[in-house]
Symmetry: C2
Subunit: 205 residues, 2 copies
DNA sequence: GTCTATATTTCGATAGAC
DNA sequence: GTCTATCGAAATATAGAC
């Protein structure tokens, strides 16, 4: 029963944000009277907190793809694939997270300052080691991580815009494959792990 | 007077979203009685529409950097710089736009289907021409544009998260320079317009 | 044009029967 | 555990004096 409510709440919070969502909408979406929500979750904020926490856990699990790889190309490539797949399968959760952060993380600020900060520092350290060993191009590890998050989550958070630019149709299987491949290709080549660049050309002007 | 209200509204809408923002908050932020807002803007939605439209115009102006350049490296590099600068100077506007799109663009769907669709198709066509002429690596132009939007706007939309991971301090001048340089470097090298990749190495496993 | 006061609606949350 | 009915607070929007 909690799961039913959480699923409905995730969708409504993603569509309307915390302030815009109403308990009535969530109750209707879950097919329950409004009072039942308050039976399982004392307040609207408690329900919201659970929804955000769910998404945070999904993010953290994507780290496994990163940690289990032998080198930078495999690690970052697999991480991109994992994050893209999450954007595809849990777009609503990603939107709830994005909205929460954009509003200053009033509910999950403590997670940002503890779990996420440690997670990020650890991976940045691994990336720096690869750079020091000459296994990838020297780039700021934090900015690289931000780019990975930005590019992959964009397909969830801005999915509506992408769908509109795709002729109003959801991305097909092929569209998703092409998106994944392009992100992987540009990022990996961008950090020195791809094919050779084009030969220099004279540019007018 | 309209400008004062719009400036205050942008901040409140960015912090709380459309549903979470109240006319009272906007009035307080603007230093006006609530009734005056309704004198200049008939409804909350009309005020919100103006705020979103303002941001949309700022986005479109960033296209000048793209259009005025002689080739792909200059065009995309200048576009990244322009978009990063917008993220720095107008982070609230970017957040309002992001929230609007995440909620399904209920107010500006027509802009997505007309102006943005045409803008995107035009630039994708230019990129495809550069690819056909061998002036940059063959990548899906739409996915490249999405990556440019995602990476640059991330610094505005997720600015709070970045600031938290930056030790709770706003990005310094140097931080912004490093961010800009990293994004430019990775993207440009990622589309074949940078230095050579690292020599292939044996990877364990 | 600007303000105070208020009408009207809708929200989150609860009471209490079953 | 589940429902109907409702309370009290807060929201948008307006009326009307100045």
């Amino acid at each position: 029963m909690e799961a039913t409510i959480l699923r409905a709440a995730e969708g409504i919070f993603a569509e309307a944000g915390f302030g815009g969502a109403t308990m009535q909408q969530i109750a209707d979406s879950a097919g329950l009277p409004k009072a039942n929500l308050h039976y399982y979750f004392p307040t609207k904020e408690a329900l919201y907190r659970q929804v955000v926490q769910q998404i945070f856990d999904i993010w953290l699990h994507a780290a496994d793809s990163f940690d289990d790889a032998p080198g930078p190309a495999e690690a970052i490539g697999a991480y991109i694939d994992a994050k893209m797949e999450i954007s595809r399968r849990h777009p609503q959760g990603s939107k709830v997270w994005a909205t929460e952060v954009m509003h200053g993380a009033p509910v999950i600020q403590d997670y940002l300052e503890t779990t996420l900060r440690e997670w990020t520092a650890d991976r940045a350290s691994v990336i720096q080691t690869w750079i020091d060993e000459g296994r990838m191009a020297p780039v700021d590890p934090y900015q690289l991580l931000y780019m990975l998050w930005a590019t992959t989550q964009h397909y969830a958070d801005f999915g509506h815009q992408i769908e509109t630019l795709n002729g109003g149709r959801p991305l097909s299987e092929d569209d998703w494959d092409r998106a994944k491949a392009t992100v992987r290709q540009i990022i990996l080549r961008g950090i020195g792990l791809g094919p050779a660049p084009l030969p220099a050309q004279g540019q007018p002007g």
